[in-house]
Structures are given as C-alpha cells and as structure tokens.
C-alpha cells in the first residue's frame, strides 16, 4: 500500500513536470530542491522520462529558450555550439566574421578546387524539423566545401514521424558518429536543449528555433552589412515588418548591438512589433517614411502567417499598400542604402519587384555570403 502510494506520488510529480514544461524543474532548482539536490544521474533520467512523453520538445519554456547564451561555450570557454547571438561576445562575433572573410576566397573563380580539407572525415547531420530550402542547402554546400560528409534527414519519413523522441533520434545519430548537428525546429529553445544533451565532442548549430533565434542568418546579415558599409557602429539600420515573429530580426538586433550599432529601428504595425524592446539603441516606428529617413540598411521581413492568428495583420495587397517597400518609399533612405531580405521573399507583399531586383538590392549576395559564414561557424566550433 505504501509502495503504491509512492508510485502514485512519483507519477503525479512527473505529470506536473510534463504539463508545466521545464519551468517547474528550473524553479525547483532555484529553491535548492531540484537539479542541485538530485544526483545528475537521477536528473538525467527524469529529463529523459519527460522527453519520451513529449516527443516534439513542446515542454520547453522561455527560460530554456534563453539559456543558449551560456550553454554554447564549453568548460574551456571556447565556442562549442552556436545557439544564439544574444550574449555572444564581440570578439567571438568578429572572429567568425573575419574567418568567413577567408572562406570567401574558397569559391573564387580562379580556384579550380573549390573545397578545403578542414572537416575531412567529419559527419554533419542536417536535422530540419521545419521546412527550409535556402538554409539547409547553404549549410550542405558549406559542409561539403569543408570536405565533411553531409547527411540530410528526411524528418517527414523518419522515426520521429513514427513517434521516436527527438533526443532518442539524436542519441542514435551520435551512436553513428555524428560530429555536427544543424537543427531547425518550430520550438524556441530546441537546439539549446539538444546541445545540453549531446556529449562534449558533438556540436550543435541552431538553424532557426521557433521565434527565438537564427544566429547564422544574423551573422551573414552582419557580414553583408560590413562588406558593403564597412563600419557597423556608424550605421543606421531599419528592420521592417513582422519583427515579433522573426528570429532573424532578433539575431540581427543582438548582433548589431554587440558590434556597437547605435541606430537600430524596427518599423511596422503595432501587431507585428514587440511591445517593448529593452535594448539600448533600438527604436520603434509605426510610420514607414519616418523610420526609413536617412538609413544605410533597409531589411524587409516575410510576414510569417504560419505563426500568427487570422486577422492579426492586413493581408496581401492591403499590407503592401501600407508597409510594402517600394522605390518611392526607399527614396527616404540614404541614396547609397542597401536593401536586404532573409528570404523567402513575397514580391508584392513586403517588397516590390522593382526594389528586390533594383541596384540597391544585395539579397542574392546575402545568400552567397551565407556559405562562407556557415563554413566559418562550422570550422570554428568543430575545432573547439
């Protein structure tokens, strides 16, 4: 009877944890009766238990999403994973951008062999739980140019679709000698969670987690800005549109702030902008012309319908009328301003074709630079 009672209590405790995600564990830890009082083995088992029952990592909460900043460094203080640009030190950020500069030359026309042997014998696994063409392909090209073996998992037909938990999938791939995981997931904090789970010789790169972060996109945007505009600290940068759902915008804002950019503007309807952005130097505009006045960089974002409730924003043409980037509106910006878009781009909704294909557009250069930046990130973390 006593034993049964105990089992029931434990079951109840686990259910509580599942329902509330990781929050309760973290809060218990803070009270000194959670992680710290459990032996790490027990804790690991408990975490496992939760994951088995919540295969799609939905049990994560915001606390977990933001814990990436600390967990991307190993005990020696070297970058082991790339999970977020929030809290990434300036010297690390510059080290990645400077290294990427070197990798641009790997694709120079004069070089007959557009491949270097830095990751020879390493296995890179593309784990895209959310669809992507550009990011997955550029990661694949980057890994192949570093001579790594690349395995693209088709999640739709994989064991995950048959009910295997994400962390069980990861364990199996680690048992197949995986070295680097490139992870995209609709849940914020998913890659941070995987990074905490893998053994120390395995590396995780966040290729977009929910509405949280997309660090390599942020880095390639910074690389593009630095390439065309040199000193980032002197720039005026405007980000237009669906900022609230945009992990790209978040990564950019943190990266720009770290590099000393003093004039970052977010422009859009109230429903698409965060109610407050508590970062120094970020200003919110609800008028496109006001926001664009004199800026050096204009970044437009895709409206992420899949992440919003019906009626949250004017649709299609209506949005374009009010917020679309036309050449007339672009004229408010500095005459030498560059136009960026992380893709996929919806012509006639957030950007006019004449601007997307115009002389100020560097949208396709972003894609090309993305390869060099991803090569830099992979080669840096793989050697740490």
């Amino acid at each position: 009877m006593v034993a049964l009672n105990l089992i029931w209590k434990v079951k109840n405790q686990i259910r509580l944890l599942i329902e509330g995600g990781f929050g309760p564990i973290n809060r218990l830890a803070k009270l000194g009766c959670g992680r710290s009082s459990l032996s790490s083995f027990d804790n690991e088992k408990l975490k496992r238990k939760i994951h088995i029952m919540t295969p799609n990592l939905h049990a994560l909460d915001a606390e977990d999403a933001n814990s990436g900043a600390k967990s991307q460094f190993n005990n020696q203080g070297n970058l082991q994973h790339l999970l977020t640009l929030e809290g990434l030190p300036k010297e690390t950020l510059l080290h990645i951008l400077d290294t990427a500069e070197q990798f641009v030359s790997v694709t120079s026309l004069k070089r007959e062999v557009k491949k270097v042997p830095l990751l020879r014998g390493k296995s890179v696994f593309n784990l895209f739980f959310e669809n992507s063409t550009r990011t997955r392909t550029t990661f694949e090209i980057a890994a192949k140019r570093l001579s790594a073996d690349v395995i693209n998992l088709d999640i739709q037909t994989s064991s995950t679709a048959k009910g295997e938990s994400v962390l069980d999938t990861i364990d199996n791939l680690v048992a197949m000698q995986a070295d680097i995981f490139i992870v995209r997931h609709k849940t914020s904090g998913a890659s941070a969670n995987i990074a905490r789970h893998v053994p120390p010789h395995v590396h995780v790169i966040n290729a977009g987690d929910g509405t949280n972060q997309h660090p390599t996109q942020g880095l390639l945007d910074l690389f593009t800005m630095r390439h065309f505009k040199k000193d980032i600290s002197q720039l005026k940068v405007a980000i237009i549109g669906d900022v609230i759902h945009s992990r790209v915008a978040k990564s950019n804002i943190y990266g720009l702030a770290t590099l000393g950019c003093k004039d970052i503007r977010v422009i859009g309807p109230k429903t698409l902008l965060p109610s407050q952005i508590d970062l120094q130097g970020v200003r919110v505009f609800h008028d496109l012309s006001d926001g664009l006045a004199g800026v050096d960089v204009v970044m437009t974002l895709r409206i992420q319908k899949e992440r919003m409730a019906h009626g949250q924003v004017p649709e299609g043409e209506d949005f374009f009328k009010e917020w679309g980037l036309t050449s007339e509106r672009l004229a408010q910006a500095d005459a030498q301003a560059i136009v960026m878009h992380p893709g996929p781009m919806n012509r006639g909704i957030e950007i006019a074709s004449e601007v997307a294909d115009g002389p100020q557009s560097v949208i396709l250069k972003q894609v090309t630079f993305g390869i060099a930046v991803r090569m830099a990130v992979m080669s840096i973390i793989a050697s740490n």
Partner: protein, 182 residues
C-alpha cells in the same frame, strides 16, 4: 650538432639582410636561365619577402599563398591558424597551369608548411615545376622537403624560433623568440 646545444642559450641572430642579398643573387641567376619564373610568398613572412624580391628582380607581379586551409594541425590549433595569416588570402595573379613557380618563405623548418602550400597551390591548377626559396633553413625536417635556393643554414636551440620582421624602411630583421608552450 643541435643535440649538444643547450635550449636556453640564444645563439647568434642570423642577419636577415645578409641572407636576403644571398637569396636575391641566386634568384637573379635562376631568372637568367628561365625568364618565365613566377614567385609566390607564403603568408605572411614569405609574402613580404616575395613583394621585395619581385621589385628587386623587376617582376610585374607576385603571388601570395595562405596555407591555413591545408594545415595538418587544424585539429589542435583550429582556425586560430587562419586568423594568424593576417587576412592574406591566396592570390595568384598568374596562370598556375603549366607555370614554373618559386615558393618563397622566411624559414624552412619541419617542411609541413611547404606541404600545405603545395596542396593550396595545386587547388589552383597543375604547375610545370615548383621550387622553393627560403631565407633560413633550420634543417630539422619531418617531411621529405628541401629548398632549391636558400640564404643559409642556421643552427638554433630546439625551443627557439625565428620570427621575420619588416622594419618601416623595408629592411628585414630576424628576432629570436622562445617557443610558447601550448
């Protein structure tokens, strides 16, 4: 031989300018025999040398080779090595295919850097012939590599390293440093 030389006593510092004049003379002679020779310096010390050699030899251009992508110590030293090359990317302003190329470096030691340089060079094409010119040869080879042209052989303690510096007036100077323990 070097085994009898204590590690902590610095030996006399080689005179880089003297070695440079010797090397320049050998390359002038080589150019008389084959006027089509191209030179390429290994970043960064070898690249400074190649620049001055190109000017003194009356060559229209010189190449720079960054060996970072082919280093064999990447797993230990990581991309810090790429950083050290001070942003000198490989630039070869001539057609590598079928060319006679003299690689230029400041110090030839184990031969590993030269191996990496050959790999990098061959990523750009198939040269007819590759030669090597160095200011100082430490002859402690770990690979079957030798220099075609050399300023001089130098004898140093095993923990000492030679670092080439270029003074503001363009002259070269060798500094002796102790090997940092990693």
């Amino acid at each position: 031989m070097s085994a009898n030389i204590p590690d902590d006593i610095p030996l006399s510092r080689p005179d880089a300018e003297h070695l440079y004049r010797g090397l320049l003379g050998q390359l002038k002679f080589a150019l008389l025999a084959d006027p089509e020779i191209q030179i390429a310096g290994l970043a960064s010390g070898g690249a400074w040398l190649a620049k001055r050699l190109a000017s003194d030899l009356g060559l229209v251009h010189f190449g720079v080779i960054n060996v970072s992508f082919h280093r064999d110590d990447y797993q230990d030293k990581g991309v810090r090595a790429i950083q050290r090359a001070e942003f000198m990317s490989t630039t070869l302003p001539f057609d590598v295919e079928g060319a006679t190329i003299v690689l230029v470096d400041d110090v030839l030691d184990t031969g590993r850097t030269v191996r990496a340089a050959l790999n990098e060079l061959f990523d750009y094409g198939r040269p007819k012939k590759v030669e090597l010119a160095v200011l100082a040869d430490r002859h402690r080879r770990e690979l079957p590599v030798d220099a075609t042209y050399k300023g001089a052989k130098v004898e140093l303690g095993s923990q000492q390293i030679l670092v080439l510096e270029q003074l503001p007036d363009g002259r070269f100077e060798f500094n002796m440093e102790s090997k940092k323990s990693n």
